[in-house]
């Protein structure tokens, strides 16, 4: 039986960890390698690095940040930001990533997921899906896909897109609620449920998680892993204490 993974996320801009609300008003949170080392010591099961300005600046996530973090940690590392080709993904793997997350470029060219999965395996191809409540009736699941760090609404139904992405080879979905990001109001359980219905691959819940109760609810809604950022960066919870609490709530975690 797999343990539920607890994953700190490092949103990185210009080589520094930042965090905002609904992808905006980013404030400095520290050095990525230093935070990564601390999180592994505290018991993090995996790390995610998202280069939040890469797509807007038309480049791939910074390799030196990936390399510095890789040197520090002996747990899995997923990296996302500006990946447009299988070659971009390969370069991130060479820099020290174990898995690569794609969002905007996969929406624009879904074949990218197959290219990454066939070269590096499905476990390497992570679909980063930013979902938000859909306006009107266009999206049957009630959620639509956002790209460009939340800057563009695509009109694409989130459940349909996740299904298509898995058919193409995505081996995991990093599912972020745009509406909840940075709000500490809990994960969007309806969004998690909609994607769980649609696909059989692991789901990482992201956006709004502030305490163990939120995480327990996300797992009950169908998540296999829970991701959070500001609660760890700002010291509200150490990962060890959070895992103690999750265990008390009956969630299986690695100790």
């Amino acid at each position: 039986m797999l343990n539920v993974r607890v994953i700190p996320c490092l949103d990185v801009r210009d080589g520094r960890v930042v965090k905002g609300v609904r992808f905006d008003n980013l404030a400095d949170q520290g050095d990525p390698a230093r935070l990564a080392r601390r999180y592994e010591r505290e018991g993090a099961d995996e790390l995610v690095i998202l280069d939040v300005s890469a797509t807007a600046e038309g480049r791939v996530a910074r390799f030196e940040t990936v390399g510095r973090v890789r040197d520090e940690i002996s747990i899995p590392l997923t990296v996302g930001g500006g990946v447009r080709t299988a070659e971009d993904a390969g370069a991130l793997l060479e820099a020290g990533a174990d898995r690569v997350a794609v969002n905007t470029a996969a929406v624009e060219r879904p074949q990218l997921l197959s290219e990454i999965a066939s070269r590096f395996g499905a476990q390497c191809a992570v679909l980063a899906l930013d979902g938000g409540a859909a306006a009107g009736e266009a999206c049957p699941s009630g959620f639509e896909v956002l790209t460009h760090s939340g800057g563009r609404r695509t009109g694409l139904d989130a459940a349909d897109w996740s299904r298509r992405a898995v058919e193409l080879g995505a081996g995991e979905i990093l599912l972020t609620s745009f509406d909840r990001d940075g709000t500490r109001s809990g994960y969007d359980l309806a969004l998690i449920g909609a994607i769980r219905e649609a696909v059989p691959v692991p789901i990482v819940a992201s956006g709004g998680g502030a305490h163990a109760g939120h995480m327990c609810a996300a797992v009950e809604a169908g998540a296999d892993a829970v991701l959070a950022a500001s609660i760890f960066h700002q010291g509200d919870w150490s990962i060890g204490r959070l895992k103690d609490r999750l265990q008390q709530l009956g969630v299986a975690v690695r100790r």
């Binding site: 039986m1 797999l2 343990n3 993974r5 592994e40 099961d45 390399g67 890789r70 040197d71 002996s74 747990i75 899995p76 590392l77 390969g90 793997l93 060479e94 820099a95 020290g96 990533a97 174990d98 898995r99 066939s118 070269r119 590096f120 395996g121 499905a122 476990q123 390497c124 081996g171 995991e172 059989p200 691959v201 692991p202 296999d224 892993a225 690695r254």
Partner: protein, 227 residues
């Protein structure tokens, strides 16, 4: 320590580049243990290195094609048959087997009897995350622990001639194998935190003696001419 091993340096860890894998994560893990890993680029290098790592991220067909194209398959197979210090990770373990459901018709290295199959459909595939491994008593390297997996395929039963540690994801699968100085892990020791680092350290320290003590079976015929 034998003169031959002295000649190639006591800290000689060579990594076989099987196409694109997470080589940097493997290299970083050995650097943290004070070694200076290098990428191997020849069959002679594979034969000559004190320690060889066969990492694996990718597909069975792609991995075998790369080993054959570069003429490395036989060198890896021979090391494993002779029980010399060799570490196979994830796909690396699968490449040691005879064949895989992932690539029907593609022959593996054949050091481990058996066919790799897709994990039980009742479970989340790929298996991504930390799972428990149960090791039998008396192993040289493997211990019961919780370690990190990222796989869709696996070997169902412990193969003859090897000591197997088992895991469960829907159904039982082979989590690790050892024989002589050879350690094959379906999980990723380089990504398994302190537990993984401890395993790599044990393998570095114990595998030369385990290899010395190992008596290879009667030599089997080399791989077919295709490789």
């Amino acid at each position: 320590m034998s003169a031959a091993r002295m000649a190639t340096g006591p800290q000689d860890v060579g990594i076989v580049p099987t196409g694109v894998a997470n080589l940097e994560a493997v290299a970083a893990a050995f650097r943290r243990l004070g070694r200076t890993p290098r990428l191997l680029d020849s069959a002679a290098g594979i034969s000559g290195a004190d320690y060889v790592v066969l990492p694996g991220v990718g597909s069975f067909a792609g991995g075998m094609a790369e080993l054959r194209r570069r003429g490395w398959a036989e060198a890896v197979r021979r090391r494993v048959e002779e029980g010399r210090p060799t570490l196979a990770i994830c796909l690396g373990l699968q490449l040691l087997c005879e064949e895989s459901e992932e690539a029907p018709g593609t022959a593996g290295l054949g050091c481990v009897p058996g066919r790799v199959v897709r994990l039980a459909a009742s479970c989340r595939i790929p298996q991504l995350g930390w799972n428990r491994v149960a090791a039998p008593a008396g192993t040289a390297f493997l211990r019961s622990a919780v370690v990190y997996f990222a796989n869709s395929y696996g070997l169902e039963a412990g193969p003859a001639g090897w000591t197997a540690a088992m895991g469960r994801h829907g159904s039982r699968f082979v989590a690790g194998l050892e024989r002589g100085g050879v350690l094959a892990c379906q999980f990723h020791p380089e990504l398994s935190g302190r537990v993984g680092a401890g395993l790599l350290k044990r393998w570095l320290e114990e595998s030369p003696a385990a290899a010395e003590a190992f008596e290879p079976r009667a030599e089997r015929p080399a791989l077919a001419a295709a490789c």
